[in-house]
């Protein structure tokens, strides 16, 4: 029987390929989720502070755990209220009143506490800091260095110098402000991002421990302030190596690379894994990582593509997580989730026009533990990309039951199978039959095969040649080769994403990173 299926590739002509797991005559009405994943970009938040009009009013600004360059913009004005002078008033008397900007107003009185009044000034525990410009000048945006654990303080300047006989014969209180008025300080850490962590090598066999040097960096590396160049501070807070299979490595990364000033970390890796660096830079703690893995023996170019931390491997491996392979086959049924938790998932791998690959995960509506619907309209992630492989997983361990809606056929009679535990046919009172999963297979057995018969239909000629990767629950990854059909034998490659012999486990694929 033909199990060929069809995918619509954007506006390309129909391309007939086999996809686990059903016939398809046209595009599926159920469109898969958009093949893009939006990652949230976090950063140090902008902050706003209000400095009230009262003289000597103080406001503490943000505190950072490590030195950070910050821009400060101060806006708004407060009103200086000046009483009408009387005869004989001082020639220094500040009159009339009116709005006063953040740089204040000049008080010419030689006895005044400050030559500038109602201005905003900034200081920290180390002393005064730049404060938006000279008195009465238009306020500029200041770029200042916040020192670690030293929150600056913004302070309102005084009222003009008090002097008898300026506005009254019995009082020296001639100036005031209007309560409730304020200036606003907008605080923005200067954006700096940690770069992708680099490694002296991305591929290794791990036959013996491999010293690998990782280097952290940032962009931009420095800042120009007042004509001078100053480095952007960057404090490393963590170096952490996580072996893909375990933490058998006796060297603890943090013990080797503990200094927050050290941008390099050389580490003896015993197995494939991921080095993660965390650094406080640009006002927030940022994370970067890179992985070091083994070449796969077949030399498959997509699996050996180191771009984006072996993203193709990562997405193929991550199908199991998306499939809830670690849940019970009995779990997850309810009215809103009629297929249970465990279900097959897919990954489309695209060859990019400029070289390299992009793996796009798919969770197709209607996927079950027995298969995924096909006919999904696949849109290239970038113009000119061509579909390289279409992968799916087998998340059900051998010997476990498969609960899926649908039917079993025998001699043309349809038998509704159990779609959930305890699924009873109301007409007969009998439990509906279920299937039990067999082992995906093992190449050590003569005559054995990998994957299901349907899986082979998708690589059977004359279908357009699409590689097919099957991620099995036990960590085996099968790559089915193009098959001319009977009587020719089937060929497949077998990889180990996890598990297997000790030497195989040294080359386990690194799991998807989430922070």
């Amino acid at each position: 029987m033909s199990l060929r299926t069809t995918l619509l590739l954007g506006t390309l002509p129909l391309l007939s390929i086999g996809v686990a797991c059903r016939d398809i005559a046209g595009p599926s009405p159920a469109r898969p989720p958009a093949p893009t994943r939006v990652s949230t970009t976090l950063g140090a938040p902008d902050m706003s502070y209000f400095v009230m009009s009262d003289m000597w009013y103080t406001r503490t600004l943000s505190q950072f755990p490590w030195d950070t360059w910050v821009t400060l913009e101060a806006t708004g004005s407060v009103t200086l209220v000046a009483t009408t002078p009387i005869s004989g008033h001082s020639s220094y008397y500040v009159f009339p009143g009116g709005p006063v900007g953040v740089t204040g107003r000049i008080d010419p009185h030689p006895n005044g506490e400050t030559p500038c009044v109602l201005n905003l000034s900034l200081s920290d525990g180390y002393g005064p800091m730049p404060s938006w410009g000279p008195c009465e000048a238009p306020a500029k945006i200041d770029t200042v260095l916040y020192r670690r654990l030293a929150a600056p303080t913004a302070k309102r300047g005084p009222l003009p110098y008090k002097h008898f006989y300026d506005c009254s014969t019995w009082s020296d209180v001639c100036h005031s402000t209007i309560s409730g008025e304020y200036s606003e300080i907008h605080e923005r850490p200067v954006p700096v991002v940690i770069n992708k962590l680099t490694a002296s090598q991305r591929l290794a066999s791990f036959a013996s421990p491999v010293p690998i040097t990782f280097r952290a960096s940032k962009t931009p590396d420095s800042i120009h302030v007042g004509g001078a160049v100053a480095p952007h501070p960057m404090a490393i807070t963590l170096w952490q190596w996580i072996g893909a299979d375990s933490t058998r490595n006796p060297d603890l990364a943090w013990a080797v690379c503990h200094s927050n000033g050290l941008m390099n970390c050389t580490y003896n890796a015993y197995e494939s894994g991921r080095m993660t660096v965390k650094a406080f830079v640009g006002g927030w703690e940022q994370t970067s990582y890179t992985s070091v893995e083994c070449l796969v023996s077949s030399g498959d170019s997509s699996l050996n593509d180191t771009t984006d931390d072996f993203k193709v491997r990562e997405e193929i491996l991550n199908m199991l997580a998306r499939s809830n392979a670690d849940s019970s086959s009995f779990a997850g049924w309810n009215a809103s989730n009629p297929n249970g938790w465990r279900h097959e998932t897919n990954v489309a791998t695209w060859r990019l026009p400029g070289g390299g690959y992009q793996a796009v995960p798919y969770d197709l509506p209607g996927s079950t533990a027995c298969g995924t619907p096909s006919g999904a309209p696949l849109t290239p992630p970038v113009p000119g990309a061509t579909l390289y492989s279409w992968s799916h997983d087998h998340p059900t361990p051998k010997g476990q039951r498969l609960y899926c809606p649908g039917r079993i056929m025998f001699n043309g009679v349809e038998v509704q199978r159990a779609s959930r535990p305890g699924d009873v046919d109301p007409a007969t009172g009998q439990l509906r039959p279920w299937q039990v999963a067999a082992k995906d297979d093992d190449s050590t057995v003569a005559g054995s095969v990998a994957g299901s018969r349907t899986d082979w239909s998708q690589v059977q000629m004359p279908a357009p040649y699409l590689r097919s990767f099957i991620m099995s629950y036990d960590g085996t990854v099968y790559q089915l080769a193009q098959w001319p059909g009977p009587p020719y034998p089937r060929f497949w490659m077998k990889y180990r994403a996890f598990g297997g012999s000790p030497s195989e486990r040294k080359c386990a694929w690194v799991k998807k990173y989430t922070n």
Binding site: R22, T372, N411, Q430, A438, T454, G485, P486
Partner: protein, 144 residues
């Protein structure tokens, strides 16, 4: 458990059914499909597969005892056994006379029966292989 009643019921249904055989299922020839099925069952006889054998109700047998059946009588019996268990699940089912080939695999004294000529379920990537005991008593369904 209601499933336990099936073998007994099946046996009686099968005896009736076998006497009424008209058109009979035939034996599918050795090909890639049979190699696939046999390969999976041979894998199932390895030492690390005891849990699978338990789940599907198969005994441990020597892999050399896993062979494709070409005996027309046995294939006809396999078809009748399959029809019988289907009638247990779908009491009103009527089977049109058929000579459709079945893949019948002998596993020691047990049998595995696959009808790969019926249209597949569009939502299922796996073939459903019926497992029967020595007396054609239904045991389980293997997905492969």
């Amino acid at each position: 458990m209601r499933h336990l009643a099936i073998p007994t019921l099946l046996a009686s249904v099968f005896l009736i059914g076998s006497s009424l055989l008209g058109a009979q299922n035939t034996c599918a020839p050795a090909d890639d499909n049979s190699a696939h099925i046999i390969g999976v069952f041979k894998r199932m006889m390895q030492s690390d597969q005891a849990d699978v054998r338990d789940s599907v109700g198969l005994p441990l047998v020597d892999p050399t005892q896993i062979t494709l059946v070409s005996d027309a009588l046995i294939c006809a019996q396999a078809g009748a056994a399959g029809d019988s268990i289907v009638k247990v699940w779908v009491p009103g089912a009527t089977h049109a006379p058929t000579t459709a080939p079945l893949y019948v695999i002998r596993i020691g004294t047990f049998y595995a029966v696959a009808d790969l000529s019926s249209p597949p379920d569009p939502q299922d990537e796996f073939d459903s292989i019926l497992i029967f005991g020595p007396a054609w008593d239904y045991r389980s369904i293997v997905a492969m």
